[in-house]
Amino acid sequence: MTARNRILTAVRRGLGGTRRPPAAIAAQAAMLLDDPEFIRPALVATTLPEAFELKAAVLGTTVERVASMDQMSGSVRRYLAAHALPPSLALQQSRDLTGLDWSGIETHASIAPDEVAALGIAVRGIAESGSLVIRSGADKPILLSFLPLHHIVVLRADTLVAHLDDYAAIMQGEAQPRNAILITGPSGTTDIEGSYVRGAHGPGFLHVVMVGS
């Protein structure tokens, strides 16, 4: 008998009785998510952008709001200057970003192991937890979000959803990428005596430019 059969047989023997039809199991699973407002925290503000911003701030994510994509590159310039960073950026190769005016900043597609700053776009934002959703894909290298010390992320306000379950409902109908990640704050660790240190392996700084309202 293969290990697979041994395990499944042992599970069935352990559970005993007749096994329920898949439809009945699915119905019970769905019921376990009923009345979601009783088992999740309420939003901390009345609008999604405000709630997102408040939650993001808790873990040290900084947020700047701009009205339109045109103003985005200016905001990134200000960020680099404020942190005294060189005018250089690993740029996600999405047309929404490469089409902008980056004069004065050297941009590149490659991501070095010691990259200082990178700019990418979030697929979505989640207000409940202040999380950004990023996904792997052709123009979406995962390492862009992990190698740099400063990770700058564009979040369109109209992609915000209220709760984690809202995001789950949306992604359920979509093709699954190899890797989907909820990013909730800059990388951190409490592994030495519980004291919190930022920039453990991933970015030590997470900056969100929220576009539109």
């Binding site: 096994r19 925290p41 999380s131 890797n179 592994d191």
Partner: protein, 473 residues
């Protein structure tokens, strides 16, 4: 395979005598306890969420065969290869074969307690493969050649000064200073090279999502993604109890897991891996393997320890356990320490080898209170004690004490009298709510404070209350 361990008593005595250890444990558990309390207070829905979390896990376990098959189908459709392992030896063999077939020289690993449980570190070393632990705490204990002492903070037993000593020798160049921030930066530099040159990345899973075939892992450092993205091959090892029906169910449990573990709301990174690199993807491994491990879990499912399969490995029961906080994780001797470890280790190592563990608990119910999936830890520990007693493994004082208790319990009137005397007697030794010494139990209370019982037994108080309700004094 492993050298014979000193007895539990010897390990405990050594741990209790080690004041640096106590200091290190307190530094982390004090913060953890405070932060968890804050997170729960800020989430008024916690109790309802906890009941639901428990129901989700119970539902999965009651239909585990269905969910295992569904997960296998969807993971396979995503391009991952699913393997099954009945025990630790099979799991080690599967992982080692994948590594050797790929001619792997360097493997990076993101922290996974299951990896420890199946003995992966040794297996890789035996196969001549360099293993690099990437979680900061695992990196510390790899340098110290130790095992994790906690399931969330594996290096909790090490003080900052001790970590500084380890990094001084293990890092090239050594860190410039020994404050945590400088040391973390040093580890970041040291491990970055390894991430980028690894042949294989191995991670665990907090959840296996049945209806997408994805595995879900949570980390704060970002080491999971750096472990699983650059190499050619990604291997996940996970226990079969990790299934959830859907991503939404995973989120319902994550809200409980993170608050209970670190007092945060979500970890910085909640990552879902689903198959290997797609055509045209900018990065990611070309192969993904998932090893589903039984190793005693189907045995638990068939008996009174089924409740333990709900465990989501948050570590709250150890942070809140007076015994754990005195002796630390290593004294327990198993891969899983603390109250949850005292239930799991006899399953994994056999009761004969771990019969002392179910006694290493004051049974004050505090761990059951904090458990986010309502696992009745005191009941399960008592079940092991009963089994040990039945199979004659208990000896000495515990057996006598338990025998006395059993005699009394079988005679309710006598039991009530006995416990009334006991309660009053205990109060005599108590100061300010905690009992610091009890005659004849010096070995127990020298390093342990028992909660001081209220002056009357529960039955006394209950009867008085009933009496008041009926208008009697």
């Amino acid at each position: 395979m492993t050298a014979p361990q000193p007895s539990f008593k010897a390990r405990t005595d050594a741990a209790l005598a080690d004041r640096t250890l106590k200091l290190a444990i307190d530094r982390t558990t004090d913060t953890a306890e405070r932060k968890r309390a804050g997170a729960v207070a800020a989430f008024p829905q916690f109790e309802a969420a906890r009941a639901r979390g428990r129901a989700i896990k119970d539902h999965v376990i009651a239909n585990l065969d269905h969910y295992l098959e569904q997960f296998e189908r969807n993971a396979t459709a995503s391009g991952a290869k699913v393997h099954w392992a009945s025990d630790d030896a099979e799991a080690r063999a599967i992982v080692t074969h994948i590594c050797l077939d790929a001619n792997a020289k360097l493997v990076t690993r993101a922290k996974s307690m299951l990896g420890e449980e199946i003995g992966l570190p040794h297996a890789l070393a035996d196969a001549g493969i360099e293993r690099v632990e990437t979680d900061l705490a695992e990196h510390i204990i790899q340098l110290a050649c130790e095992r994790p002492s906690h399931i969330v903070w594996p290096a909790m037993h090490r003080t900052r000064e001790q970590v500084a000593e380890l990094f001084k020798v293990g890092h090239h160049p050594p860190p410039a200073a020994d404050d945590p921030a400088t040391m973390v930066q040093s580890a970041r530099r040291e491990l970055r090279v390894k991430f980028m040159s690894a042949d294989i990345g191995i991670s665990g899973a907090n959840f296996l999502v049945a209806n997408t075939g994805a595995t879900c892992t949570v980390t704060n450092e970002g080491n999971a993604e750096l472990t699983t993205t650059p190499p050619r091959i990604h291997i996940v090892t996970a226990g079969i109890e990790k299934l959830v029906p859907s991503t939404a169910h995973a989120f319902a449990l994550l809200r409980l897991l993170v608050r209970s573990a670190t007092g945060g709301e979500l970890t910085q990174y909640t990552t879902f891996h689903c198959g290997p690199r797609r055509d045209g993807d900018a990065d990611g491994p070309h192969e993904m393997h998932i090893v589903l491990v039984d190793n005693g879990r189907t045995r638990m499912l068939a008996d009174e320890f089924r409740d333990m399969l709900r465990c989501i490995r948050c570590g709250a029961c150890m942070n809140h356990c007076v015994v754990y906080r005195q002796i630390g994780g290593h004294a327990y001797g198993g891969f899983y320490p603390g109250p949850m470890g005292s239930v799991l280790t006899p399953v994994l190592d056999g009761l004969a080898a771990s019969r002392d563990l179910p006694h290493a608990c004051t049974m004050n119910g505090r761990r059951a209170e904090v458990c986010p999936v309502e696992i009745p830890l005191p009941t399960l520990l008592r079940a092991w004690r009963r089994r040990g007693w039945r199979s004659g493994l208990e000896n000495g004082l515990p057996r006598v004490a338990v025998g006395l208790w059993a005699q009394l319990a079988r005679r309710p009137a006598l039991y009530r009298l006995g416990s009334r005397i006991g309660v009053r007697a205990l109060r005599l030794f108590g100061k300010g709510g905690w009992i610091s010494s009890v005659p004849l139990a010096g070995g127990w209370t020298r390093h342990r404070d028992l909660p001081r019982p209220p002056g009357r037994t529960f039955m006394d108080q209950y009867r008085a209350k009933q009496g008041r309700k009926r208008g009697r004094p």
